[in-house]
């Protein structure tokens, strides 16, 4: 009896995921865009769909956010079936797209009040929420100016502020930082982290590995309509053996001698550098140093490389990046 009661909170935490997709398929004409992808996002976490342009990220967001219909697959968002009850899904979600979904002809404040009206807030409540969000997103000074005069970063902030008017528990962010300068990007990251600390679930698409690494609890690499790999950033990094110790030489003669002596290494004759496979552990590093000492080789620079998401990304998506004509990402 007590045991079941104790386990209840744990069970609650791992209860129904906020977003699930099973066998999601979509094609445009005879072009297959999503080839049966499976996704499960626990409530209160950041999930990142990572992939190159044209991988189908935006299409996945469009389908999960009820903008377009899927060709197949079972999709549930916020506990509702996307195909059966899209209106209930819409009530649970907020969407901020790749291209700003703001009304450029009216002011930032009017955009906010428009959202308040569409969420059926009372006039006073609408004004309060709008003012609060404009303040939070640092848009007070620009509130009375037409949104089309905003910079890219401001538009994106207004866009997200509009999404938050309805206090959605699940938010889709489609490439929220594409085209932003580094400062705006870091601001956006801060905002996204804040959202999740309030218990919001975030479905994020990005083509930036750093962004997924920084933000996401769980990452799925989408390539050519299929999920090529998924896991935490660390799990993905472990997938590929990219770790090595790099020795750099400035004198070509020393480089050649070293390359001849250390036979089991990867040579880069142009950069005058040698790569020795290594997991980066202290033990292996000492072994390499001992080896170098015993052969009398002295490199000008020694660096240790652990695999990063870049390595994972290129390893997993190499096939499509070599295509001469990358299909354009579908845009709103």
């Amino acid at each position: 009896m007590t045991a079941t009661q104790l386990s209840a909170p744990t069970a609650g935490k791992t209860a129904a995921p906020a977003i699930t997709a099973t066998g999601l398929r979509k094609s445009y004409g005879d072009k297959l865009v999503l080839d049966g992808i499976d996704v499960s996002v626990p409530a209160g976490t950041i999930f990142s769909l990572l992939g190159p342009n044209g991988a189908g990220k935006t299409t996945a967001v469009k389908i999960l956010s009820t903008l377009i219909s899927a060709d197949g697959g079972e999709l549930r968002v916020g506990g509702h079936d996307v195909a059966v009850d899209p209106q209930a899904v819409r009530a649970a979600i907020g969407v901020t797209g790749q291209f700003s979904a703001v009304d450029g002809l009216i002011t930032g404040e009017e955009n906010m009040l428009l959202m308040a009206d569409l969420h059926h807030l009372s006039k006073s409540e609408g004004r309060r929420v709008a003012a609060q969000l404009l303040e939070r997103f640092d848009l007070v000074d620009a509130a009375r100016k037409p949104a089309q005069s905003y910079s890219g970063g401001m538009k994106r902030r207004l866009d997200l502020a509009m999404t938050l008017v309805g206090n959605p528990r699940i938010i889709f962010l489609d490439e929220p930082t594409t085209g932003l300068d580094p400062r705006s990007r870091h601001n956006m990251w801060g905002i996204i982290r804040e959202l999740v600390s309030d218990g919001v679930t975030v479905f994020l698409t990005t083509q930036y590995l750093e962004e997924a690494d920084e933000l996401a609890h769980h990452i799925a690499v989408l390539d050519d309509g299929k999920i090529a790999a998924e896991g935490t950033a660390d799990e993905l990094k472990r997938l590929i053996p990219g770790g090595h110790v790099r020795l750099r030489f400035s004198d070509p003669a020393t480089y050649r001698t070293a390359a001849d002596v250390l036979r089991e290494v990867t040579r880069d004759d142009e950069a005058l550098s040698l790569s020795i496979p290594s997991d980066g552990s202290q033990r292996e590093l000492r072994a390499i140093l001992d080896w170098l000492d015993s052969t009398g080789i002295e490199a000008d620079e020694l660096t240790v490389h652990t695999p990063d998401l870049d390595d994972v990304f290129f390893a997993l998506t190499s096939g499509s990046t070599n295509l001469p004509n990358q299909p354009e990402e579908n845009v709103r």
Binding site: L67, A91, V95, S100, V102, D103, T163
Partner: protein, 263 residues
Amino acid sequence: MSALSLTVRDSNTMLRRNLLHARRYPSLTLNLLLTPVILLLLFVYIFGDVMSAGIGGGSADRSDYIAYIVPGILMMTIASTVVGTAVSVSNDMTEGVIARFRTMAIHRGSVIIGHVLGSVLQSVMSVVLVGAVGVAIGFRSTDATALEWIAAFGLLALFALALTWIAVGMGLISPNAEAASNNATPLILLPLISSAFIPAETMPGWFQPIAEYQPFTPAIETLRGLLLGTEIGNNGWIALAWCLALSVLGYRWSTAVFNRDPK
């Protein structure tokens, strides 16, 4: 919230959005008034002598022709305004905010209903402005009762509603503003082959049925009858039938196009 009150509330919100656009950027609406006003002045002051003689008004005074042409020009004003509707709907559909509306739990049709209501209001305002020009150059209604004035306004509003629904459909299927403008151009050409400028019975015999039964002629003849006391005959019913048919057709077409998956 019931389905009806949701529809009313969201449509009202969208209407206010469209009126805000129109108020902030009035140049589009005002430009559209130029065509009917210029045609009015052209036909009265440049072609006026021949036209007056042509309708057999008796006196060489142009007042007969002014009386004849103004109801037609008022209907043409509506056609001109809804060309603007097609353009603004098409422009609006390229805005990201429309995608946002589609992912919100609002009444789905409210986006287009807002456009339609806004456009009808603009049409009525445009008709009043062009009507004022007509009055300024000497148009006077003869013996129209209050009821006939109300019926005249009702007819103008209903005709505006019908043409607006068609224009909204045209705007929705147009990929850009230029295409929307081209697609809607026939709406402003129709009055030229109606009884707006010359009586349908003075046109070539084979063409008369087309001129007589296209939407504009019955509507114009009915408006003339209401304002000037000329014979309405069955034109009233034909005009009403056209308005209802075009409204229903435009409504079904527009909602079907809007409910399709966006590209």
